[in-house]
Amino acid sequence: MSESYDRGLVADFGRWTEFSAGMWAWVFHKFTGWVLVGYLFTHISVLSTSLQGAQVYNSTLSGLESLAIVRLLEVGLLAVAVFHILNGIRLLFVDLGVGLEAQDKSFYASLVLTGVIVVASVPTFLTGAF
């Protein structure tokens, strides 16, 4: 059986040094969630150039992909998405009461696996960027 958290501990950022693994997981999940929902609106905006025809769509996408900063931001987006997915799976298990005792270890595992996947994906994402 779990118990509700004391939001004061989380909300008071000045006490971040006292955060436990579960609190960091909550903060990271919230941060990555905000980034992903912001990106969703941006993504649909960019893809909306398809409404103006193939030429505008192609020139917009190729123009963005030619920018090194966009390629780097895509690596950042991958990191954010992978962590949100892995920690989301962890949260689904925690909500089902599975692995609650190891929830700190599964958070660390999510972080490490995110790092490994992102580093391994860098060559694919940055091909021709520089």
Binding site: M1, S2, E3, S4, Y5, R7, V10, A11, S20, G22, M23, A25, W26, K30, G33, W34, L36, V37, L40, F41, I44, L47, S48, S50, L51, G53, A54, Y57, N58, L61, S62, E65, E74, L78, A81, I85, G88, I89, L91, L92, V94, D95, L100, E101, Q103, S121, T124, F125, T127, G128
Partner: protein, 120 residues
């Protein structure tokens, strides 16, 4: 006893829908990233390729469901994060209205994009 950290009131309808959409999104977001960054590289994406994918009914339906569930999951997540920070009264109603309208507009625009790419 382990503490449970969440912005949601456990057991509520939005809590359940957030989990159900999460289960779907975990699979489809991973597929989307893999398909458009590793199978097809983002720097090679063009209208013709997008059109071929979108003209497959299964892909089109999956992408529309992806749009709807991701929008709900994101907007609902933001709303619950704001409620969790303590907004109430007019601020809470304004958040419901703004996020609700933004979500509907995003879905409508996303479907317009899907239709344009599919050639509908």
């Amino acid at each position: 006893m382990a503490k449970r950290y969440s912005s949601f009131r456990s057991g509520s309808t939005t809590w359940l829908l957030q989990r159900l959409t999460a289960g779907f999104l975990v699979v489809v977001l991973a597929f989307h990233f893999f398909n458009l960054h590793f199978v097809n590289h983002a720097y090679n994406i063009d209208f013709a390729g997008s059109q071929v994918r979108m003209q497959s009914l299964g892909y089109y339906v999956t992408m529309v469901l992806f749009l709807v569930t991701a929008t709900f999951h994101g907007v609902n997540g933001v709303y619950n994060a704001l409620v969790n920070q303590g907004i109430e009264g007019n601020a809470k109603r304004a958040a419901q209205l703004v996020l609700g309208v933004a979500g509907v507009l995003l879905i409508v625009q996303g479907i317009r994009v899907a239709n344009a790419l599919a050639g509908f």
